[in-house]
Symmetry: C2
Amino acid sequence: MTGPDTRHLTRHEGQVDRDQRRALFGHGAATVWFTGLSGSGKSTLAFAMEHALVGRGVACYVLDGDNVRHGLNRDLGFSPQDRTENIRRIGEVCRLFTDAGLVVLTAFISPYLDDRARVRSLLPRGAFYEAYVATPLEVCEDRDVKGLYARARAGELPEFSGISAPYEPPVDPEVVLDTRSLSTEAAVRRLLERLEEDGVIPRAESDHGSPG
Amino acid sequence: MTGPDTRHLTRHEGQVDRDQRRALFGHGAATVWFTGLSGSGKSTLAFAMEHALVGRGVACYVLDGDNVRHGLNRDLGFSPQDRTENIRRIGEVCRLFTDAGLVVLTAFISPYLDDRARVRSLLPRGAFYEAYVATPLEVCEDRDVKGLYARARAGELPEFSGISAPYEPPVDPEVVLDTRSLSTEAAVRRLLERLEEDGVIPRAESDHGSPG
């Protein structure tokens, strides 16, 4: 069978809606999409955000290579087509988590502008935060925490973003974070403030009357 | 590149663990997997459960044809291979939602024993509830709410489970629900009680001292 087949598709009355989910969780839902080169600090930031959000009672979850590349997308490699399909599926999972009322954080290089634009289009307006982790290539390569840049330069890792495959930086991201000038704590604070300003999460009680 | 490529995979210290998620949500996590023929009542039960769970403050979400077939799995059809891949991906999404601390409910025919066994194997022991909606074929076909059985009998819908494609009933499901003898309310009550007994969700306050 080709083309759309709607045999199993019916809208159900009385489904839990977005307002009910907001009331249940005590906050809104969003996707915070970290993008940047390998070693730029995406995962560190995503998990630091998760830690901070849980500390404030916010239901959240991190999608990263560890829980996606070994599971949902274990059938995909690193070719341009597979990278696109990788990001498409992750975007759809973000849509489900956001629809469920959570703040979902993703840590994937996601090198293509078009792929990220497609994820944005899946989500309700205002629910997608593109967070560009703008650590420059030289710095990432200099850190080379996992030794991947050395292997990429040696030709052992083909299609490595920034070396042997493109990385297309965001044009108009919601947030830009340069981990040279910004500590993890400061980056998390900036992101939390943005989510507070937009009403996704409530303001922290300790913010009131704080001199900072 | 073929074979496993672990270039982006690193465990992160201090990730939010299962106990912290239980504390955050005030309940445990599980996948309740409804399986049964088209028209057996899977979606009705899943959404009734969602409604009941949200009413009790339980974070939950329904995966069904509507939000999965049109999204994550829009590239898949109804061939045996595509059905298997459909269920594999849904199982992986259940794993993510359960890992995130939610009770996730699914409403898919999921006709193959092997496919369902594979989903079970993805989840922590005790976190997978196979709920067999055992409404017999004759009853489903007699209801034919969406007119699909008539179309399947007319040969318009090939590979239709129970008619022109197999449906393999569960061998040892956690719960069996026959919608002929059991109202939706009674089925929901039975499922909630099972989740309470297993400590996935707290007992409802109204249960204490109730004459029923």
